[in-house]
Symmetry: C2
Subunit: 96 residues, 2 copies
């Protein structure tokens, strides 16, 4: 493999990073909408059953090369960040 081939692979990783970034933020926008709706309905924002189902669904579709435990860990971080985002949004509403 030449250095330019290595550079090409790195460009591909950069491209994928930006696609993941875009999806994370698109996901966050939808999660905020869901959070607002739950707030209106007066239901709690954290739903462990829904989180469990989401994780199960993700792991069913996973076929490597990452270990399932790694995928689980990364998505748990995404879920946690999303919940924090909903909470910040809720606190901002209270301050208005």
């Amino acid at each position: 493999m030449t250095d330019s081939q290595l550079a090409k692979l790195r460009d591909q990783v950069d491209e994928i990073n930006l696609q993941i970034l875009e999806l994370l933020n698109k996901r966050a926008e939808i999660v905020l909408q869901i959070g607002n709706e739950k707030k209106k309905q007066g239901v709690t924002r954290f739903d462990p059953v829904r989180e469990r189902q989401s994780l199960d669904m993700i792991l069913e579709h996973h076929n490597g090369p990452f270990e399932p435990s790694t995928i689980k860990h990364i998505f748990k971080e995404i879920f946690k960040a999303s919940l924090e985002l909903q909470e910040e949004d809720y606190e901002q509403t209270l301050l208005v």
Copy 2:
């Protein structure tokens, strides 16, 4: 918002989860190729300068709603998992 609209938003989140999963694994495949090449060249797999540049590039393209610190945290987890994957792959080569 009706319950079916809420269900539709959740379906969108599920769909995005699977797209993120696909990108994570596609990214992992490329990272493994990069790791193998670095091994052949006898260079170290962890490259803090490259990691810094990748993070900077991601944050330059980031425009919310997540906090930049959250995006940084999630990507650091992805980078860490990728490095571990390269190391596992390397150890397996040694055992053959």
